[in-house]
């Protein structure tokens, strides 16, 4: 196939999905995309789409200047750098699409977003629909309570009212505990983090069960009176966060894994953690430090 004919063919394919194109043409669309449909798609659009949360401080949120930023987003930007290098496109555009817990799976599955950079727990059930990056944060269900309430563990809340996020892993675990230990807790469903905390602050509920990391940040930064809220209790669940990508693209998954391993090995992940959580006075958890070391695969 001559260069000229190949060029014509590529021009004709513009707008059509590159997925259907034989590899020799895809090479023309973006050198270095190889057989990866996601990389081909990015090369084709000359843009990579990041899905982000709107208010998950400090992981993934829109700041006062309407800029998308956060710990998860910074890690994703490392992947973007690697994609630019791989495709030889230093001027690659980044598009930001806000997502929520309801639409994040369909948007990753149908290819609207290339990287989901939020606070998504990496679970086996979810592997049915999407693929995940290595683990970049570890948390678990804890309780947000009023500091002067004296509650220490979930057992202290027997017969009380506890808020949970609708459809969260925290809710499932609390419900299981409640049934198993006959605690007789009544669950109240909140829509998002701010609302759950508000329920505690207005005494509608006695505690709010959510991801420990996130409620610690909330208590440190947004409690109406400083120190009025605290996070208590053992970790009731194990919630490792990962970046979501489309399933069935081993080449792109490998690129993502490689970037994360390099980031962990170079100590950059720890620096990013310090950058985002240091100002909030939240120290890195030994278990997360260990996770970084374990996942820092050698070259």
């Amino acid at each position: 196939m001559s260069k000229f004919v190949q060029g014509l063919a590529v021009a004709g394919l513009l707008g059509a999905l590159v997925l259907a194109a034989p590899p020799c043409l895809a090479q023309g669309a973006g050198s270095g995309a190889g057989t990866s449909p996601i990389l081909q798609r990015i090369a084709e659009r000359n843009a990579l789409t990041i899905g982000h949360r709107e208010a998950s401080v400090p992981y993934s949120y829109i700041d006062r200047e309407q800029k998308v930023e956060g710990y998860s987003v910074d890690l994703c930007l490392k992947v973007v750098e690697a994609v630019k290098e791989r495709l030889g496109k230093p001027g690659l555009q980044i598009n930001y699409v806000p997502i929520n817990t309801t639409n994040r799976i369909p948007l990753v599955a149908n290819g609207t977003i290339d990287l989901e950079c939020g606070t998504t727990t990496n679970t086996l059930a979810r592997h049915e629909q999407v693929a995940f990056s290595p683990i970049f944060y570890i948390t678990g269900t804890q309780l947000l309570v009023k500091t002067n309430s004296g509650f220490k563990e979930v057992e202290d809340l027997a017969g009380k009212r506890v808020a949970v996020l609708q459809g969260s892993s925290n809710e499932q675990s609390l419900r299981a505990l409640n049934d198993g230990k006959k605690l007789n807790i009544s669950l109240v469903y909140a829509k998002d983090l701010g609302e759950g905390a508000l329920l505690v602050e207005t005494d509608r509920v006695d505690a709010f069960a959510a991801d420990g990391g996130q409620i610690k940040v909330y208590a440190a930064t947004r409690a109406q009176r400083k120190g009025s809220l605290s996070v208590v209790g053992r970790l009731l669940t194990y919630d490792p966060y990962s970046v979501m990508i489309q399933r069935g693209d081993p080449e792109f998954a490998q690129l993502v894994s490689r970037v994360f391993a390099e980031t962990f090995r170079a100590g950059e992940a720890e620096q990013l953690y310090a950058k985002w959580f240091g100002p909030l006075g939240i120290e890195i958890d030994p278990i997360l430090k260990a996770a970084f070391e374990i996942q820092a695969l050698p070259r």
Binding site: T102, N110, R126, Q129, D203, Q246
Partner: protein, 238 residues
Amino acid sequence: MTYRWNWSVLVTEPYLGWLLSGLTWTLLVAGVAWIVALLIGTGIGILRTLPSRTARAFGAVYVEIFRNIPLLLQLFLWYFVIPELLPAEIGRWIKRDLPMPEFWTAALGLGLFTAARVAEQVRAGIEAVGRGQAMAAAASGLSTAQAYRHVLLPIAARNIVPPLTSEFLNIVKNSSLALTIGVLELTGQSRQIESNTFQGIEAFTAATLIYVLLTMLVIAAMRSVERATAIPGTLARA
């Protein structure tokens, strides 16, 4: 699209139970709200047509307040703001001791909002009966109360069945906003299924179909009300 379809989640436990429980809450919220809306809406609608200026003004104020604030915001105000403004004991009772506070807040909030819309239908229905009928009633010696009781309301009620059908459908659909203050009705439960199984498309499709079935039933029921109460020779189809 790499989505993996799995329709069987809809018929496996616990998810089938969740959908059914969501349907139950939707029916409860919509049902209680509809009763509130009909009672208050009829009252306010009548006030808006009375000779008394004060009564008309009161009705107008009610309608404008409840009609001009988005329903979502109204629910938030009832749920988060009002209990904080009330005396501490009453607020605390609403928040803690009232059984199922989320449900009652949602049902009453939705009912009061829809009442404003029902009131407008009732007012229009009474005005549509025409001044001639009202005058004829007065001329035959009926008091205002008797004129409403025996002439105006019976005809108006029949005339407004079709527009009330739309309000009834709206109340069924608007009940989905109850999820924002923690009532796990049909939409809320389908979101729960989505986050548990990641099979969101199936769950939302099921919820959509259930809503369509529900609204079809409402339409059929209202049609038969219309037919059963029709007076030959009036507006309603014989």
